[in-house]
Amino acid sequence: MSTGEALQTYVLETLNKDNVIENTKDLNNADGQPIEQLTLLGALNSLKSKDMVDFTFIDREVWFLTEEGEQVAAQGSHEARVFDLIPSGDEGMTIADVQAKLGEIAKVGQGKAFKNKWISKKGGNLVRLVDTIVDQTQSDLQQIQKQGGHSDAKLLTDLKKRKLADKQKLTSYRVTKGSEFALEIKKEATDITYEMLQTGEWKNASFKKYNFDAVGVPPTGGHLHPLMKVRQEFREIFFEMGFEEMPTNCFAESSFWNFDALFQPQQHPARDAHDTFFLKDPATTDRFPRDLMEKIRVTHETGGDTGSIGYNYTWKEEDAGKMLLRTHTTAVSSYMLYKLAEKTKAQGAFKPAKYFSIDRVFRNESVDATHLAEFHQIEGVIADKNLTLGDLIGFMDVFFKKMGMDKIRFKPTYNPYTEPSMEIFSYHEGLKKWVEIGNSGMFRPEMLQPLGLPSDVRVIAWGLGLERPTMVKYDISNIRDLLGHKVNIAMIKEYPVCRLDKKMGKELVGLSKDD
């Protein structure tokens, strides 16, 4: 049968005649050949989609011959062919001749013929031991070929071991009439076309059922990086809360702004070369504001007029002049607060400010699954008169609620430029414990007063990393799979949109899937 349509008609006609097709394996086409079951399945599916027929599967095991088995069935077993080749009589035939005539089967055939005591060796020649033989293997195989099996299971196993026969699973079908059974097949449209709309044909057309289990065609198109998607979410939280974005677009920074302006003493361990990337070129700068530098020097050494006793050491300008790659974006915050103080002086009045940034910082760290030499820091700063710790905590409550974290609390900690310093913890329902998520505090007066801010101005600030929440959100265990060139671009395409406040199966901190 040449077309699927013809096959469908044949099935319908057979059903019309017999009411049921018990097993389609017995179905032959017009020229008496068995119908290919796979082709038939296509026809049956098509008919079933129109409810014209129904069918069930019939699975059966069928033995078939391997290529070698086919050969044996046709030409005889290797041993029989060896026997047949050797003439009767004492003369026999040389092994070399047998080899030359039969090729590679000669060796196996000889062995088997010896074992069956059909032939033996006389001198250098092979001679017959019996006059006639029965080639049982050949007849067994011919039977399997004809019947698709054999009554002797042990024989089948043996033939399979000899790689002469093997079994396969064949599926055929039992077909019955469906609710819409008819002899005529109504033509079905697969899609709604322009022509149909123009001609109005869609009104009469019968449409093929859509397979809703199939997968849609994936769209082509571009994709944003997961880290940037999470960054966007944080940016929006800041914008919702009235924050101005800081210009963090300078990776190179002086020790002065990165450390000294933050009241970080010059012998502080963070200033060690093994934590910080110092620069070879440009190696130093002395261009920071000189009057500010003098105030900072005095504050470090003796506290100056800030009410502090200072760190009691000799401050060195050369240490402040060392260029580095910023280790935190707080270097920019200190500069912004200096600018704010200058503006306050120029305008004669202080205006409150809220700043934020999300940008890259650098640490001279050994790289592992959770540490890279570069990562993104999220930082927020609020400057106003007489801010309190209650403001800091209250603000953090709102900020982190927007990230989907309802339960946060604060732990005392140490940081050279904030006092009080508070680590922010969020309760993890999955781990059943408090997990550190960020750091916060009130900038020290020894940092703010040299910058020139009025003494009643207090500044609260907090920071957290961008990578960790992203890794938790997208279930990434190695930071190198997220940032850097060893990312899988195919994965970038798979990461879903980020809504920090929504639980998406894997929550930042909160209920995990298993709960």
């Binding site: 198109g221 571009g222 994709h223 944003l224 990086h225 880290l227 919702e240 809360m241 009235g242 924050f243 101005e244 974005e245 677009n249 300078c250 990776f251 190179a252 002086s254 012998q267 620069l279 070879k280 070129d281 440009p282 700068t285 502090s308 006793i309 009691n312 050491y313 260029m323 790659l325 809220k354 650098f362 001279n364 030499a373 106003d384 801010l387 309190t388 710790l389 209650g390 403001d391 905590i393 209250g394 603000f395 409550d397 609390r409 732990k411 005392p412 140490y414 006092e419 310093s421 009130m442 020290r444 609260i460 940032l483 850097g484 060139h485 990312v487 671009i489 195919a490 970038i492 395409k493």
Partner: protein, 593 residues
């Protein structure tokens, strides 16, 4: 953050209470320390016999670096005790031990202090803690012995007055601690060169013409600071009288270290919390008696504390809260708005009234502070450059390209040689001390990172279309930091064919989206044009420069070569191990802001 190992049973005994893990965690949380590990939860075979608590301590609290200090601070915090009062008590005959400083020491390690603990009662735990605290102090405040280093001696094996000298290494001969062979300064340097513990301290004095040394009255070497003590005067479990000497390059730190050490261990003296002073005589005749254990007078205003914490505490309440933090506080007799605090020598972290304010807040409990939303009204705004970048990123993603995020740091070769570019030494910011060759320069082009990302992903189906919008770094002598960033756009297309016209199309598309028209080079109109170029990064005849005529921030008309695009040169592809023809576009986004 230093970690301290504390014997759980002894600590709980000191606190007069058995805490559950949860309760103890909670105490740590409120006090500002962190329980890292409780070995009683360790069920493995190598768990220590007596349960040990591993506790992280804030980097400025040297008074918590040993079991004695931790127990004392927590006892006071939990209201079980009052803070101890340390007393400097001279010997009965009034004659102090002397430490005489020789002028030569000025060139290597100019300061020294001393103190004596009389009638100390060591046992194994106390002795180990004494050694361990010295180790912790050496590693933290002493900055690996560079700022200060201490030696402790059995006073009954040596005899004062002591001298602190600086001599040529060959002239110093003694048997170092736990050794049997006498050696001189040079031999000692060789002997300890490969030593895992001491090797790292040798550099502090190795190349100096003179080494610091402390002798007793009989010319017995006590120690060779900052390396090692002599075996002769070593302390043991049976030692009763301990002579402590600390040499330093920083006079403030050396006193902090001495005070911490004697404050923690004077509790084991026959007369607890008493310390016998030592007289240090400098060459100019200055005499300093150490240690000075007088508390420092500090103060904080009541209204300042209340204003910062958002509380309305009475002066007496504040004093009670501070007492729990080991701070002896009282209301000023003349000014009830002032709290006077006697800061013990162990609390050197108190620099300013804000530190006192913090202790009030901790003592009150951060959890108990009233919460409020600050009423700070401000207007939100994005950095214009970032806003522009986000527009460019969205347009590129809409155009079918995928965003990548490589690192900013790269190797010198990746930034120059691999791109067939020369280093003119005027452009790139270079690192002085990177840990690996992967990080040698701040990239001056987005190409190395993007190409490395494509190379890492070369097994993906073609075409591979990626972009990055991010900063490069440049030296810039006109800036305070002598450097600046520049925001770049980079796009690459890799496939079986070069895709040159596709990348060209992306450029045109972005320009349309930036409302920038294509103009003729010779006109005076604002806009962009491209010109064929011969750039070594690209295949000959397959690259172009991009020019922009625009009005800059100073309101002046400018023409600038903002970037280029082209089919990458096969040698560039080979350097980045890219098998496919690749076209790349990179330009400076900043003129469009």
């Amino acid at each position: 953050m230093p970690t301290v190992n504390i014997d759980k049973q002894r600590l709980f005994e000191a606190l007069e209470r058995d805490y559950t893990t949860e309760e103890f965690n909670e105490l740590c949380f409120r006090f500002g320390i962190e329980l890292e590990e409780d070995s009683s939860e360790d069920t493995s075979a190598n768990a220590p016999e007596r349960p040990v608590l591993k506790i992280d301590v804030p980097a400025n609290r040297y008074d918590l670096l040993c079991e004695e200090g931790m127990a004392a601070a927590l006892r006071v915090f939990e209201g079980k005790a009052k803070p101890p009062v340390y007393r400097v008590v001279p010997p009965a005959d009034g004659k102090l031990q002397q430490l005489i400083v020789k002028p030569e020491t000025a060139q290597i390690r100019p300061f020294v202090v001393g103190a004596i603990l009389r009638g100390v009662n060591f046992n194994e735990a106390r002795y180990n803690s004494f050694i361990d605290l010295q180790d912790k102090l050496h590693n933290n405040i002493c900055r690996k012995r560079t700022l200060a280093s201490m030696g402790t001696h059995d006073l009954d094996t040596i005899q004062g007055p002591f001298t602190y000298e600086a001599l040529a290494p060959e002239l110093i001969k003694f048997t170092p601690l736990n050794q049997t062979k006498e050696m001189d300064g040079r031999e000692l340097m060789e002997f300890y060169d490969a030593d895992r513990n001491l090797g790292k301290f040798l550099h502090i004095i190795r190349d100096s013409p003179v080494y610091p040394v402390i002798y007793d009255a009989n010319r017995t070497v006590c120690s060779l600071p900052p390396i090692i003590n002599s075996d002769h005067s070593k302390i043991q479990l049976t030692t009763k009288n301990v002579f402590i000497e600390i040499t330093a390059t920083d006079e403030h730190k050396v006193n902090t270290v001495l005070n911490t050490l004697v404050a923690m261990f004077s509790r084991y003296c026959d007369e607890p919390f008493t310390i016998e002073p030592v007289e240090v005589v400098y060459p100019d005749g200055t005499v300093k008696v150490t240690p000075n254990l007088d508390p420092r007078d500090a103060s904080a205003k009541v209204d300042y504390i209340n204003s910062c914490t958002g509380l309305e505490l009475q002066p007496n309440d504040i004093c009670a809260l501070l007492n729990k933090m080991c701070l002896d506080a009282s209301v000023d007799t003349k000014d009830t708005n002032q709290i006077n605090v006697k800061v013990p020598v162990t609390r050197w972290d108190i620099l300013h009234a804000c530190d006192i304010m913090e202790d009030v807040a901790i003592s009150y409990g951060y959890d108990n502070l009233p919460r409020q939303m600050p009423g700070v009204n401000t207007v939100a705004s994005a950095l214009p450059l970032n806003k522009m970048s986000d527009h460019a990123r969205r347009e590129l993603a809409l155009a079918g390209f995928t965003e990548v995020a490589p690192l900013i740091l790269c190797s010198h070769d990746e930034n120059f040689k691999f791109l067939n570019r020369e280093d003119d030494n005027k452009t790139a910011i270079k690192l002085a001390n990177p840990k690996t060759v992967e990080y040698q320069v701040v990239r001056t082009s987005l190409l190395p990172g993007v190409l490395k990302t494509v190379s890492w992903n070369k097994k993906l189906p073609l075409p591979i279309k990626v972009f990055e919008v991010s900063d490069i770094g440049l030296k810039d002598e006109s800036r305070e930091r002598r450097a600046r960033n520049e925001r770049h756009v980079c796009v690459t297309y890799s496939a079986k064919t070069s895709g040159f016209e596709i990348v060209h199309g992306i450029l045109d598309r972005l320009m349309t989206m930036f409302s920038t028209s294509k103009v003729s080079k010779d006109s005076n109109e604002l806009g962009y044009w491209i010109e064929a170029a011969d750039l070594p990064t690209f295949f000959p005849g397959r690259s172009a420069n991009i020019y922009l005529r625009y009005i800059d921030a100073a309101n002046e008309q400018k023409v600038e070569n903002i970037g280029a695009f082209g089919v990458l040169h096969p040698s560039v592809l080979a350097s980045f191990e890219l098998p496919y023809p690749t076209t790349a576009l990179e330009f400076n986004l900043e003129p469009f802001v």
